[in-house]
Amino acid sequence: MLTAQEISTAITESLVAGRPLALVSLLEASGQVLAQTPRLLVADPGLFVGGSLGDEALEQLAARHASKLLADDRQEIVVVSVADLMPEDDAMRSRWAQTRLLFEIARPPLELIICGGGHVGQAVAKVAALLDFRITVIDDRAEFAARDKFPDPRVQLLAEDFVPALRSLRITPATHIVIVTRGHRHDEICLQEVIAQPARYIGMIGSRRRTTTIRERLKREGVPPALLQRVHAPIGLDIGALTPEEIALAILAEIVLVRRGGDGRPKSADGPMARAR
């Protein structure tokens, strides 16, 4: 049986390394809740980290399903009937009737790197704090990477040149990067620095014309088209945003959409926005 200490340590180690971890619990066996809940820890891609479900075939099935969930950002917790994991095998299905597994995925905290501490960067930090991001702000002007501009003490401030600052940070699949510096030259430098990194989201502010120019220049410099296609530029959902706060909302809305999936349209089918559908 896994102890709480073992589970806690395994989760911490995995998250520090920027990797998610699945905790699989035998919720009920043949319709019964067991006195002690058997548990299994599974890392991506389907690696056993510890624990036991008391049956090897069941563990294989659980690991296979866990690796599917680990690979899908939207999955956090799900209960699955074991029989549904083996629909082709009638004998196994009856053996595991009324047996359910609980999958819980621990994911590294979401990170947000904001390049640029100007009005938009400040507003992005405010909105992102609501969504529990761990925020780092970079600006080469010390007066902008400053506590009076970012009063939330949880925001990490780096008053350095963009490239060395970006290189000093660990960029993982839990990292989101918002490029909103004071000018296109710095935006381009930041984009070039991070474009090949495994970040979940890279967005850059700018008009369609300006961002197209930057894309084309990077392409000529040999950046593969597949990398350029990952970049959200111009940044944000089109909600008609004008003020820095509205732009921040549009950016974070896009980040949520990327992570959770969705189509970015109004939900009401026959409300005032119906024409937009």
């Binding site: 919720l27 917790i77 209960v79 819980e104 529990d132």
Partner: protein
Amino acid sequence: MSLLTQSQVYDEITKAQATQQKLAVATIVTTSGSTPQRTGAKLLVFDDGRMLGTVGGGCVEADVWTEARAALAENRPRLCRFTLRDNPDVPPDEEGMVCGGEMEVFIEVWS
């Protein structure tokens, strides 16, 4: 509202165990229909009555607390099903609650 993370939960259990304290961990594992509750939400109920986290507040939280206390007393895990029905004696408009779903809460005891 930010929910307790998995790390926080197992850290808390480890801490409680270090001081010989028993606790129940209630997790919303499934929901169906219309409920304001979120799957994965956890409520920790300690032997001394202290609580940490939330399963979404309201009447459900009180019901989960009661079940957690019973699980602690019995020293056994349990799986509870709750139906979030509007009170039939009160017209829905007056009650102002938008429920009508079901949920399952898994309660485990760590000692």
